[in-house]
Symmetry: D3
Subunit: 250 residues, 6 copies
């Protein structure tokens, strides 16, 4: 039985589902530049796609993606829009509290954007401290999957942005929003203080692409999504077991 996607679910179905232990999955995205070939909503699009792959086998509540995140270091590319870290943390915490009052047993945060990591962690800490077990996942095992499936190399270790990985996933999920004709590689030189001081990425990368999106295919995209979901499965199982939550899988 697939997840209860809130975009198609009346409240009465939620109430019925809540008679059994129920997990909710909240995708976290961002409005952020992804080069000249991908739309600004990539991070939310991908997070929703991965969240669905994770939520389906759990018969979980699949919540609307939070489309805005903290994309501060991409602000110099027009089109990027951010919530402050404090606002993002508060938004996740507010949503989590609502889930807890509703009777949901636990929350999985599925993050599609690096800049959301810390607000997500702090919200998870708030929620867990308040009694709602809260798992937070960035795409687990992505580095290994990228090494396995990609024909190009990343611009930096563990750095996948508007590249073969993200473009492939978009081709799998929303091909009509991808302009492959405009896909072009970019391997910028990182400043020596990268990662050690606040820095706009545009100061050393004019295009916004990190790596080479050209070899991207929808098949690779499906492999990434399925691979991430497969990597997440044992972590989720351990999480549910740790908190004594028996989600009945039909």
């Amino acid at each position: 039985m697939p997840a209860l996607d809130f975009a198609f679910t009346p409240w009465t179905d939620v109430e019925a589902r809540l008679t059994r232990p129920t997990v909710a999955v909240l995708p976290l995205g961002a409005v952020e530049q992804h080069g000249a070939h991908l739309p600004l909503t990539v991070d939310a699009d991908l997070a929703l796609g991965v969240a669905r792959a994770i939520a389906d086998p759990l018969d979980a509540l699949l919540l609307p993606a939070m489309p805005y995140g903290d994309a501060w270091n991409n602000a110099a590319y027009p089109g990027t829009l951010s919530l402050s870290p404090a606002t993002l943390r508060a938004a996740i915490t507010d949503i989590g509290k609502g889930l807890q009052e509703m009777g949901v047993s636990s929350l999985i945060l599925l993050n599609g954007h690096f800049g959301n990591h810390e607000p997500m962690l702090l919200a998870a800490r708030d929620l867990a401290g308040g009694g709602l077990p809260c798992l937070h996942l960035d795409y687990p095992g992505l580095a290994e999957l990228a090494e396995k499936h990609c024909d190009s190399t990343p611009a930096a270790p563990h750095f996948y942005h508007a590249d073969e990985v993200e473009t492939s996933m978009m081709l799998a999920l929303r091909p009509d929003a991808v302009r492959m004709a405009d896909a072009a590689p970019s391997y910028p030189t990182f400043p020596a203080t990268f990662g050690a001081e606040p820095m706009q990425l545009r100061s050393f990368n004019p295009s916004g692409v990190f790596g080479d999106p050209r070899p991207a295919t929808a098949n690779k995209g499906r492999a990434f999504i399925e691979g991430i979901a497969a990597n997440a499965a044992p972590i989720i199982a351990a999480f549910l077991h740790r908190h004594g939550i028996a989600v009945i899988e039909p």
Copy 2:
């Protein structure tokens, strides 16, 4: 030329558009019960649809809808999820500041959910005080349109929720998400203190429907959306004129 829908727009198109005076439109929704026949995302779905109708003739930036809002008084129906008023206000303000830094000339907030009204106003005040003209619209002229097009009567004056109006608009925008077979009327008796104290709607309305959704049709929905956009047009024109913004309409 249609709006630049961020779900299909790379940052390079936004940069190109910003060489002329540019308006942004931000739809505000909610995750909230809408009876047994409509999904929890109705308010964001409708706000996005109306925002598109408003944004297209302005060649505006059409931002992703904020899917979560302040739906406190529907919290007793499972599935409803809220941001606190302070969080919602902060989110709108954060987004507006990003638009201003990007070079956008003004912002139109298009609100699809009553509970968002005040956080929206306060965010608009913050932004306008900071130099970004900010128009905030709930569906202008909806009461007159409802009286004109509806075959049913509302449950209370100016109260349209999961009824013929909203159901029609959903049939026009996302018919696959509507379950007309489950549409049923509900005309609850309002408590004497309704509107004068904090109150959960479920305390006097078991179904969550206010009015009668059964006469809804997609044609009526299109009439509402077009009518709202038509009502909004002169207000927007006055707004732009008042602030000396010459948006070039192709």
Copy 3:
């Protein structure tokens, strides 16, 4: 037995009163321009007068009016002073918590200034959520009373500011603070975006008067106050009944 007006009440009387279920009434005012014929304190003066009319039959605690409110859109008229919405909300919430700790059974917020409406609602939600039933009243039924008693027409529907209504009430409550010789009518033209964007009233109304204060009389003022109190009575009765509070009326 009249209300316990804190301006004349030692704490020992409050302690004695609290042996029975006790309601508190908090008037909310503003420091705001009211034309050339009325003082800046009108909103607090009127709120206190109406609050007294409501508190007396309840043998309630009549608290000092909060004299400052959110009068942002009158800021361009010198003399107007505002609390931010967040400060006002916090002030009401702080006071309400103190009442709850004291043993008061419920709180009635009596608001004399439109701009306070939303901070009042949010404070009421905070307090009700914390266990203190909280009714919030703007002058109930004022439109009908104005239509019945006034010889002039309002400047806009439901808009009563420094006009026949407010001037009459001031003549009834504090005639020594009214300068009828300076009362002059003003029927400004409202901008098309009025109510849809943050706007200073002075941008289209030089005098600050909305309507015609000249026909005001103290008798009409008393009719307004008594009429509002009469309209409030059944709402208050329903509120107390809803929360199981049996206030003994002597």
Copy 4:
């Protein structure tokens, strides 16, 4: 020429006054127990009275007293109500900012309640940092005045609460609100940790009176008010001189 008391002043008079350098005086009170013979509003009543004595020779703006303050350590006596220190500080800062925007040259905070001291200082620091010179006065020279005029001794050094001093001032300002028949002395024993840990005064003083109110007279009250104003005059003169403000005294 007396001060412009906002309770009797239309905005047009304020605008006219602001053509010359203008000082505003904001009295700070509290809703706090003052024994069985004085009402809960004493601190605001006295602060307003002293503020008037200070404001008159300056032809200043006399603002409505903030009736609520931070009276935390009297909370155990029913009737006492507090703003949190943060709320009080924010309220004073909000009001000060409004005065600055209006064109007022400086602000005098006249504090009638010990517990307000620190929020007042912090607000003054905020405002001075923002460019509004801000003087904060607790009753200057009160100890010497008390020693000179009182027939009773205080309950502790520099501690005047519901005693001969405050009762006399109330007899001078609002005699109808004083119940001399209920005035009774109280000289409690202070715990060894008084002043060194948070403590409710009621834990060692059942009546709330500190000292002996019985010798109070209106004449003494007038002597206190005039004496405080006389003590304040050179401080105010030095303050205005220090900031180069030439207030024209008629």
Copy 5:
């Protein structure tokens, strides 16, 4: 048995100590100018020294001093650094909550810097309200000790800053950090509004010294430290007794 100085204590010792009722002592300092002969850390150095003298007989937990405080009025002397009052209050409250969760029975705040007084009080109120008894001490009885031991007079009553008192204490605790050759007296004239408006001390005192540090000796410093500890002892005993805490002194 001496205090458990956290700078030398593993967590296992703390756990062992907590099997008996345990007091923690938190010294509060500041980074603030102290003339040309003393380092910027004087207030934390002295607070730690006094805290140790107090903590030893209690076998207490001696926490690391908070080295930063609120030294706003010394900001014009380079080297001075401040936390805002809100940050300082939050820091103390955070630490106190951690102590409470750990099982500590009570907290003694030992303050070495005047500007910390109010944030300390508010934090103590927060903590006491949350169930952790909290004593706050500025150097008790310092005025009497200064009068007894000093050969110089203070620059103003109760004002000891970079003078004979503080210099002597530094000579007793950290003589290697004192430059007696640079010690010079300073008796500035205080402005008439000192204490009644926010004011930088440098505006009337070029050197930063208040009084005469030259007669300072280490012996006097030890007398101050021992004297303060002796004055604190009965207050602490009363505090522990008041809260029923039986600290076993070995």
Copy 6:
């Protein structure tokens, strides 16, 4: 010329130093368990030691270490004490603003505790946005140094806590605070959800040691400190160059 260590520096020296471009170094520590053989202050002790090695060649201002940090996941070991992330961020931001007002050209944050990383980043963003260039360093190149110098293996990749690395550094800096007799290895099994949900380390590690501290020596400790400083040097040089700051190295 060595750094100006604030623990030995009067304000007059700071003022003199500020006539040339000046860097400040702020060490960030924590009060956190470090096994049975190391004191609770290790993180601040080491951060100060490394900061000194970095500050000396820059002739920088060496600020007092912030001894408290965010050690939430060690809270279950008594003795651990935390600031909330928001408090820590505010403290760093407050200090940075003070440095900027003082005329310091840039700030280096030297972090000795993993849990401080994100509050440090956000504070750096605040400060850089306000015009103070801000570099944030965790011990750069520590993994390579550990692999080079250690005889033991870490408990997990990039995880150095109370192990050979930290114990060696403490032996180099504060040998009197180390109890080598109590040093014992611990290689716990990490839960599958480690890093993916909020988790107390004590839930799977009774001792608090991660790795084997027994091979630690002071010589290794010096090698770590010197190695980190050497790794930091080119990053700092790039940082200063990037911001056009010419620090004169004598």
